[in-house]
C-alpha cells in the first residue's frame, strides 16, 4: 500500500482541487446571477410549467404530440382535442431530435397518464448527440434545463450531450460566463404565468402562407429539400424504438405521423417518407403520412413562406393537420381512447377553443357561443348544430358555424355552399328575412361531416326557415 501512497495523495489533491472549483461555480450560480436573460419566448419552459400545473390541478392529458418545432407550429392541439374529444398537448422543443423527445416523454409519464402518443417524424433524422450543430446544442440545452425531474435529467445527460458539452449544459455559470466581462443582464420582472388560460403547448408562428413570388422561386430554384438524401441515424432509430418500448410498457398507443412541407419544397418526398413507413413497420406502429398522402402538401396557404430547408406550417395548416390526425386516431381507436364529449368539465376547460365549434358541442356556460339550433333533419342531410359565436377583439361581428352530417350520397366533393334562410333582427331594426350563402370551412375535410362558416355583422336570429345545399358560385 505504501507504494501507492504518493499516487493516492496526488489523486486526492486533484479531486480536492476539482471539488473546490465545482463548489466555487456552484456558489457563483446560487443567487441566479448567471441565469439566462429573460426570454418571453421560452416555450419549452412554459410547456413544463403547464404540464406540472395540469398534473397538480388534476387536468388529464390524453394525447401527447411529440416532436420538434414542426410539431408545435404545425399541429393545433386545441383542434386535435376537440376532434378526439380529449385533452391533447404538444410537448415539443425546437431543434431537438428524438433523443430529447424520449426523455421528455419519460418525464411526462411521471406526471400524466396519456392514452396515446403521436410522434411527428421530422425529429427522427440524421442527427445524433455527437454531431450537433451550434443551434441544436443551444436548443437542446434549453430544453434540458426546463425539465425538472433531477433523476431523469441525470439519466439523460450523457445521452443528450457529448462529454465536452456537459459543463455548459449543466452549469449556468459556465454557460453564461461571458456575463463576467460583458456585464450581468438586467432582469425585468417576469409576469407570472396565468394558469387560468388554457395552454396546450402550441406556438402560432406563421399566419400567412406561401406568396406568389415564392411559388415563382420554386420554378426557378427547384425544391429546397432532397428527400432521397434524408437518412435516419442509428441513434434516432434507437430512441424511436425506446419510445415505442416505453409506450408499450405503459399501455400507451403510439402513432407516427409526418407533417408535410409544400409539395414543391421537397424532391423525392416518397423516398423520404418510405423511411418512416419502414420504421413504423419495423416498430409495428401505425403511420400517417401527410406529405405524400392526401392533398395537404398542395395548399400553399398551409406553409411558411420560405425556401429554407425546414419549412414549418401556418396556423391554417396546423388546423387542417389536427383534423387529419384526429380523424386518423378516431379511425384507429374508435371510442377507445377518449370519451370526454359529455364531460361538462372538459367542455368548460375548452371554452374559447374554436375547435369545439367544429367537432364538439361547446359548453352551455360559454357566454361567447349562442346555440341557434341542434339536431335538425333536412331532407338530404342532418344538421348537428348551428352556432353563432363572438369574434374575440371585434364586438361588431360574429361567426355563423353550421355542422352537418349524413350527406354522403350528396357530397362526395367539397363543391357546395350551405344556404341558410332565416329571419333576423339587427339592433332595434324590424325583423327581416335573408338567404345567406355560407361557404364550406376548408380546414375540415372529412367524408362523414361538413362544416360551414361565415362571418356576419352582429345580429339576432329570430327564426330559421330553410336550409339547402347549393353548388358553389
Amino acid at each position: 500500500m505504501n507504494a501507492y501512497k504518493p499516487l493516492l495523495e496526488t489523486c486526492a489533491k486533484a479531486l480536492l482541487g476539482l471539488g473546490l472549483i465545482v463548489l466555487s461555480i456552484w456558489a457563483l450560480e446560487r443567487d441566479g446571477q448567471f441565469e439566462e436573460e429573460y426570454d418571453s419566448n421560452n416555450h419549452p419552459k412554459k410547456r413544463w410549467e403547464y404540464l406540472y400545473h395540469m398534473a397538480d390541478a388534476g387536468t388529464p392529458i390524453d394525447i401527447v404530440v411529440l416532436g420538434n418545432s414542426h410539431a408545435y407550429t404545425g399541429l393545433s392541439p386545441e383542434y386535435l382535442s376537440a376532434a378526439t374529444e380529449s385533452n391533447a398537448f404538444v410537448l415539443a422543443n425546437n431543434g431537438s431530435n428524438v433523443a430529447d423527445v424520449y426523455w421528455n416523454l419519460k418525464e411526462l409519464l411521471t406526471l400524466h397518464t396519456p392514452k396515446l402518443v403521436a410522434l411527428e417524424t421530422y425529429t427522427i433524422n440524421h442527427d445524433d448527440h455527437g454531431n450537433m450543430s451550434q443551434d441544436m446544442l443551444v436548443n437542446q440545452i434549453r430544453a434540458f434545463n426546463t425539465r425538472r425531474n433531477p433523476g431523469i435529467r441525470r439519466a439523460s445527460l450523457f445521452s443528450l450531450f457529448p462529454i465536452d458539452d456537459v459543463p455548459i449544459a449543466t452549469s449556468e455559470a459556465v454557460r453564461n460566463h461571458h456575463y463576467v466581462w460583458e456585464g450581468f443582464p438586467e432582469r425585468p420582472k417576469q409576469t407570472p404565468i396565468d394558469f387560468d388560460k388554457r395552454y396546450l403547448g402550441r406556438f402560432i408562428r406563421f399566419t400567412s402562407g406561401i406568396t406568389d413570388s415564392l411559388l415563382t422561386a420554386y420554378e426557378e430554384f427547384g425544391p429546397s429539400v432532397e428527400g432521397a438524401e434524408r437518412t435516419i441515424s442509428d441513434e434516432c432509430f434507437s430512441y424511436t424504438a425506446r419510445i415505442a418500448e416505453l409506450c408499450d410498457a405503459n399501455g400507451i398507443e403510439l402513432v407516427l405521423f409526418t407533417l408535410p412541407m409544400y409539395e414543391k419544397h421537397v424532391a423525392n418526398a416518397e423516398v423520404w417518407m418510405q423511411l418512416y413507413a419502414d420504421l413504423a413497420h419495423e416498430l409495428n406502429v401505425p403511420y400517417l403520412d401527410l406529405q405524400t398522402q392526401g392533398d395537404m402538401a398542395s395548399h400553399p396557404g398551409y406553409f411558411e413562406n420560405t425556401l429554407k430547408g425546414n419549412q414549418h406550417m401556418t396556423l391554417q395548416g396546423s388546423i387542417r393537420a389536427a383534423d387529419e390526425l384526429g380523424h386518423y386516431i378516431d379511425s384507429l381507436y374508435p371510442g377507445e381512447l377518449h370519451q370526454r364529449a359529455d364531460e361538462e368539465e372538459w367542455k368548460k376547460y375548452h371554452m374559447g377553443n374554436r375547435g369545439m365549434l367544429v367537432y364538439a358541442t361547446p359548453s352551455a356556460a360559454d357566454p361567447s357561443v349562442q346555440v341557434i339550433s341542434n339536431g335538425i333533419k333536412a331532407p338530404d342531410f342532418d344538421i348537428d348544430q348551428i352556432l353563432l359565436t363572438d369574434v374575440p377583439g371585434n364586438p361588431d361581428i360574429q361567426e355563423l358555424w353550421v355542422r352537418i352530417h349524413n350527406y354522403k350520397k350528396l357530397l362526395t366533393t367539397s363543391d357546395k355552399d350551405l344556404i341558410l334562410r332565416f329571419d333576423f333582427r339587427m339592433k332595434d331594426n324590424p325583423v327581416m328575412d335573408i338567404s345567406l350563402r355560407i361557404p364550406r370551412y376548408e380546414l375540415v375535410q372529412r367524408n362523414d361531416m361538413a362544416v360551414f362558416r361565415r362571418t356576419i355583422n352582429r345580429l339576432e336570429i329570430v327564426k330559421l326557415k330553410a336550409v339547402a345545399l347549393a353548388v358553389k358560385e
Partner: protein, 479 residues
C-alpha cells in the same frame, strides 16, 4: 482529442492513474500502455490514419536496424537512408503536397496555354503528419551519422514515434533525447508532477483565455479583409501574431507538462520570442524544435555559414523556403518563409546591428522591429490564399475606414488588451528573473494552490468557449 476538452481531461486522468498505479513498475507494460494510449489519442480524431504512423514507425524501425548492420558490416548505409527518406517524405508528399504541386503544375500549364489533366486526390491532411515525420526522420539520419544506436525494442520505438503529448503538434523530439527515456523505468517524482501540472495549466490558460479570444477578432477580420480599415487590419495582424504564439506555445507547454507528469522530459519549444532583439535570436526562441531540426539536418549539411556570405544567404533562403513549405502546402507559406529568410539576411546587419549602439533604448527598438517585421510577414501565413493576403495587406493602406472591433464586444476587447499586457509582463518577468517562476514549484502550498485556483477559475470565467464559440483547435494541428 483536443487538450482543451473535457474528453482529454477524463482521458488523461485515467491514463495518469493507470500509468502510475499499474504500468510504471514494468517497463514493457509501461511502453505498451503509452503506445496504446497514443494510438487511442490519435485514433479519436481518425483511426484510419493510424496506419500512416504505423507504416512510418515500422519502416524506420526496420531501416534503422538494417542501416546499423550495414555500417557494422562495412556496407553502404546511404541506400537505407534514402529508403527512409522516400517512405517518410513520400507519405508526407502524397498527403500534404500532392494537390499543391498538381495545382501549381496546372496553373503553370494554363499560363503556357496548355490544358493539363485535373489530377487531384480527394484526401484529408492527417493531423500532425509533418511533426511525426520529422521526428522519425531524425532517428534514421542520426543512425546514418553514427550518432545513435538502432532501437531493438519495437514497443519502445513505436511509443517514441507516437508519444501522445507531442504527437500532433510537437515539440519535434530527437530520438537521442526521447527514445532512451523509454528504456528507463519512470519514477514518481512529486516535484516533476507539480511543475508539469503548473505548466499544463498555464498553457491551458494561455490557449483558452487569450489565444482563443484573439481568434475571435482575427477570424472576423480575415473572413472579410477587403472592407477593413488600416487600424483594424494592423490590429488584426498584431493580434494574429500573439494568437499564433500563445496558441502554439500553449500546446507545447501542455505537451511538455503532461509528459513531465508521466515522467518523460520533452524539449523546450519557445523562449519568449517577442523579446528577441534580433532575427537570429528570434529563430532560436521560436518553435525551437523545428528550427534546430532544420539547422542540424539541412542548414549545416548544406554548409551552414562556412562558405562565405553568398553561400550562407543561399543556405538560409533554402531553409526558410522549405520551412515555409513545411508549414503549409501553399505559395503563401513559401512567401512567408522567404520573407523571414530575407529579414534574417538583410535586416539583422542593416537595421538591428546599428541599433545596438543605443543600448537599452536600442534593445527595445530591436525587439519592436523584429516583432513588427514578423507580424507583417504573417499576413501570408493567416490569409486564405493569395487574394486574401493581397486584401489583408491592401487594407493596411486603407486609411478611409475607422477602426472597428471585430468579432467581439468592446468589453471583451478591453479585457483582451488587459490580458495581453499582463501576458507580456509575465514574459518579461520570466526573462528577467527566471528563478521566480521556478520558485513557484517549491513555494508554500497555499501560494501554489492560490495560483492553481486562480488559473482554473480564470479559465472557467474568462475563457473563450461556449455555445456561440466554435470549437477551438490548435492552429498548428493543420501542419
Amino acid at each position: 482529442m483536443l487538450f482543451n476538452s473535457i474528453t482529454f481531461l477524463v482521458f488523461f486522468a485515467l491514463v495518469f492513474v493507470a500509468y502510475w498505479g499499474l504500468m510504471a513498475k514494468n517497463l514493457r507494460w509501461r511502453n505498451a500502455f503509452v503506445l496504446v494510449c497514443s494510438y487511442i489519442f490519435y485514433g479519436w480524431w481518425d483511426w484510419r490514419f493510424l496506419s500512416l504512423i504505423f507504416i512510418s514507425s515500422l519502416s524506420d524501425y526496420l531501416i534503422g536496424q538494417r542501416m546499423e548492420a550495414a555500417a557494422e558490416g562495412g556496407r553502404r548505409t546511404k541506400p537505407w537512408l534514402v529508403l527512409s527518406l522516400v517512405v517518410n517524405l513520400g507519405i508526407l508528399g502524397v498527403f500534404k503536397y500532392f494537390n499543391f504541386f498538381m495545382d501549381s503544375l496546372q496553373y503553370g500549364l494554363h499560363g503556357l496555354g496548355l490544358d493539363g489533366t485535373d489530377w487531384r486526390l480527394d484526401i484529408v491532411l492527417p493531423v500532425g503528419i509533418s511533426f511525426y515525420t520529422f521526428q522519425t526522420l531524425s532517428y534514421t539520419i542520426d543512425i546514418y551519422r553514427g550518432q545513435l544506436r538502432a532501437s531493438r525494442n519495437p514497443i519502445a520505438f513505436f511509443a517514441f514515434v507516437s508519444f501522445f503529448p507531442q504527437l500532433v503538434a510537437g515539440p519535434i523530439e530527437r530520438a537521442k533525447d526521447l527514445l532512451p527515456q523509454f528504456s528507463v523505468k519512470p519514477v514518481f517524482d512529486r516535484a516533476a508532477i507539480r511543475s508539469g501540472f503548473t505548466l499544463a495549466l498555464w498553457g491551458l490558460f494561455k490557449k483558452v483565455v487569450i489565444a482563443d479570444r484573439l481568434a475571435l477578432f482575427v477570424d472576423a477580420a480575415f473572413d472579410e479583409p477587403a472592407g477593413m480599415g488600416s487600424g483594424t487590419a494592423a490590429v488584426a495582424l498584431l493580434f494574429f501574431a500573439f494568437q499564433l504564439y500563445l496558441d502554439f506555445s500553449a500546446y507545447s507547454e501542455i505537451a511538455i507538462g503532461i509528459a513531465r507528469m508521466l515522467g518523460i522530459r520533452l524539449s523546450t519549444n519557445f523562449k519568449r520570442p517577442y523579446l528577441a532583439d534580433s532575427f537570429g535570436q528570434f529563430w532560436s526562441r521560436w518553435h525551437i524544435s523545428l528550427s534546430s531540426w532544420f539547422r542540424d539536418y539541412l542548414y549545416i549539411p548544406l554548409g551552414g555559414n562556412r562558405g562565405g556570405a553568398t553561400r550562407t544567404w543561399r543556405n538560409i533562403m533554402i531553409v526558410f523556403l522549405l520551412s515555409g513549405l513545411w508549414h503549409g502546402a501553399s505559395w503563401n507559406f513559401v512567401l512567408w518563409g522567404s520573407l523571414n529568410g530575407l529579414f534574417l539576411i538583410a535586416l539583422d546587419p542593416l537595421v538591428i546591428r546599428p541599433l545596438r549602439r543605443l543600448k537599452t533604448v536600442g534593445r527595445v527598438l530591436q525587439a519592436i522591429v523584429v516583432t513588427l517585421c514578423w507580424t507583417l510577414s504573417l499576413g501570408f501565413f493567416r490569409a486564405q490564399g493569395w487574394d486574401g493576403a493581397v486584401a489583408a495587406y491592401s487594407a493596411l493602406g486603407n486609411s478611409g475606414e475607422a477602426f472597428a472591433v471585430k468579432g467581439m464586444s468592446a468589453a471583451e476587447f478591453n479585457l483582451l488588451l488587459g490580458l495581453l499586457g499582463g501576458m507580456m509582463a509575465v514574459e518579461w518577468i520570466h526573462e528577467k528573473w527566471p528563478v521566480l517562476v521556478e520558485r513557484l514549484h517549491t513555494s508554500h502550498f497555499l501560494v501554489r494552490w492560490t495560483v492553481y485556483y486562480s488559473l482554473s477559475m480564470a479559465i472557467v470565467l474568462l475563457g473563450s468557449y461556449g455555445m456561440n464559440v466554435a470549437d477551438a483547435q490548435f492552429i498548428y494541428f493543420q501542419f
